[in-house]
């Protein structure tokens, strides 16, 4: 039995004293593709943010590749794809420049980029189908293409584990397909995936296990649940009013 890639033991997280996750345990082993599902505000994004150390744990433990998260330093083994690119920065940046950031975890802060870095960036751009947009400013891309840029940034670091926060939310169909293709390729090379999703869409065939979070606790851990009721209709357009954003971010209260 190999060491689990991610191990969460009895974790609790609260924002300003309000509990968001209660006694959550989760194990992800190498090669698995685990989807964390749940309604808005269920705590599913908080779960992966806690795994990455972006929100502090109240109680419980998180280990990454067998090392307690607080002592974990091999961040190049993890590729993180946030929900969206921040509010957009004031200065233009090309797609390639953003994707090249993904090499920093592997290269370190001081070393200038070399040939291996450039090759990895090109490969990541091709994997998400954005090679022809590499020189364009990110701000001129569609939402789906910006999301693909973020995935390319994570892939450029050649990680063993990808952690994705709602990668397909509000993304056009073409980008979803391109994204599913890139993920399929990553899994084919032995990669491990933990992703948060609201709906699975074209990712569904890739998922090996689903964890459903409900009101801050895990209520299902196993096969991907079948859609029920009107959600199961083939032409069901998954549109509904979104709930309040989960508390997060440096600048929000």
């Amino acid at each position: 039995m190999t060491t689990p890639v991610i191990q969460v033991g009895h974790a609790s997280v609260g924002y300003d004293g309000r509990p968001v996750l209660r006694d959550v345990s989760l194990t992800v082993t190498a090669g698995e593709v685990v989807a964390v599902l749940g309604a808005n505000g269920s705590g599913k994004s908080t779960l992966i943010r806690a795994v990455l150390g972006l929100v502090p744990l109240g109680t419980g433990t998180v280990t990454l590749f067998g090392v307690p998260q607080r002592r974990f330093r091999q961040w190049h083994r993890i590729g993180y794809v946030p929900q969206r690119l921040g509010a957009g920065s004031g200065v233009p940046a090309t797609v390639r420049e953003v994707v090249a950031s993904g090499r920093l975890a592997r290269r370190g802060v001081l070393r200038p980029p070399g040939r291996a870095d450039r090759t990895a960036v090109e490969a990541a751009l091709r994997a998400v189908g954005l090679a022809d947009r590499a020189r364009d400013p990110v701000a001129t891309l569609s939402g789906g293409q910006q999301q693909r840029t973020l995935i390319a940034r994570a892939l450029a670091g050649e990680p063993e584990l990808l952690v994705l926060d709602e990668p397909t939310a509000g993304v056009d169909a073409a980008s979803q397909e391109a994204f599913a293709g890139a993920l399929h390729e990553f899994v084919g090379t032995g990669g491990t995936v933990l992703l948060v999703a609201h709906e699975l869409g074209p990712l569904r065939p890739l998922i090996s296990r689903a964890v459903v979070v409900h009101q801050g606790g895990v209520c299902h851990d196993g096969a991907v649940p079948e859609p029920a009721g009107h959600h199961a209709e083939p032409d069901h357009d998954h549109v509904h009013p979104h709930g309040p954003e989960e508390p997060a971010g440096l600048w929000s209260s």
Binding site: L52, G53, L54, R73, Q74, W75, H76, I78, Y80, P82, L85, G86, S89, G90, V91, P92, A93, T94, R96, E97, V98, A100, S101, G102, R103, L104, A105, V109, L110, P112, P113, R135, D136, P137, R153, G157, V163, G249, L250, W251, S253
Partner: protein, 288 residues
């Protein structure tokens, strides 16, 4: 042009050129982080340092560097904690800084002309020792900003991602804060506390009217800063105007010219390619 035969004018020009090159190299990160006016705030704090230096008969610039670094690090810590009251804390620091500076200068024997030199710059009084300080500190900051560009870009672009990538985010943020403080204090000699942000921000704003990427924006902004500083000092020498104000007005003039030209070019390009748009769409129905 004869004026440039004098040593003091040569020093003024060199000092301005170093600052013109350094300020945008740092400023681009502040603009990217949407903290364009932070240089202004730190300048206010530096003024308290100037006042304290004059009062204690110590080098005003050195005391200002210390005050500005303390102020910048405080601002960074407030920002990193992400308290909603951060905005108000910054306001307190800024206004406290300028009020403290004015009060301390008043308490010392220094004249109001002395205060003016720091508020609006006094390039022509740059001593050889001043020039050495400006050149060494300015070059150090410019080199750091260029050498650490990938990491600083990542931190300013997406701080959470940088944290998950294992970058030393706190150290890089503090480096930016200290570099801002040092740049503000060396630029204080050239353009004055009240105009410092202009040299950090305006060349970047001008560059990004026409550039597509971060690296090209940085290169263009540094070139524009160099141009504004050099041409500003030349204008000041030939037309006998205030050097700081001349430099800043030239930078803003370049912005207006480039912004108008870029807008005009966009309009022309849109007019030049209407061929596709004017192709009539096929009729959906045929009325007889």
């Amino acid at each position: 042009m004869d004026l440039f035969q004098y040593d003091f004018m040569q020093r003024a020009l060199l000092g301005a050129l170093v600052i013109g090159l350094t300020a945008p190299a740092l400023g681009i990160y502040l603009v990217q982080r949407r903290l364009a006016l932070i240089g202004d705030g730190i300048g206010h704090v530096a003024l308290t340092g100037v006042g304290a230096g004059l009062l204690l008969n110590r080098s005003p610039v050195l005391v200002a560097v210390v005050a500005a670094i303390l102020g910048a690090v405080t601002i960074e810590l407030v920002r990193a904690r992400g308290r909603t009251s951060g905005d108000l804390a910054l306001a307190l620091l800024f206004y406290g800084g300028i009020a403290g500076g004015v009060m301390l200068v008043g308490l010392s024997d220094a004249s109001s002309a002395n205060l003016n030199a720091y508020l609006f710059g006094s390039l022509t009084t740059t001593s050889p020792a001043d020039l050495t300080t400006i050149a060494v500190l300015g070059a150090t900051i410019a080199v750091l900003m260029l050498a650490l560009r990938p990491a600083l870009f990542a931190v300013c672009h997406d701080e959470e991602y940088a944290r998950v990538a294992g970058l030393p985010v706190r150290a890089l943020n503090l480096l930016l804060a200290v570099a801002t403080a040092v740049t503000v204090t060396i630029a204080m000699r050239a353009v004055g506390v009240l105009l410092i942000s202009a040299l950090m921000v305006v060349p970047v704003a001008t560059a990004q009217q026409v550039t597509r990427g971060f690296r090209s924006t940085m290169t263009a902004a540094m070139a524009l800063g160099l141009f504004a500083a050099g041409a500003g000092v030349w204008v000041a020498a030939t037309a006998d105007t205030a050097p700081g104000a001349s430099v800043v007005l030239l930078a803003i003039g370049s912005f207006l010219v480039v912004a108008l030209a870029a807008a005009g070019w966009r309009v022309l390009r849109r007019r030049a390619t209407p061929a596709v748009a004017t192709t009539p769409e096929p009729h959906e129905v045929v009325l007889r």
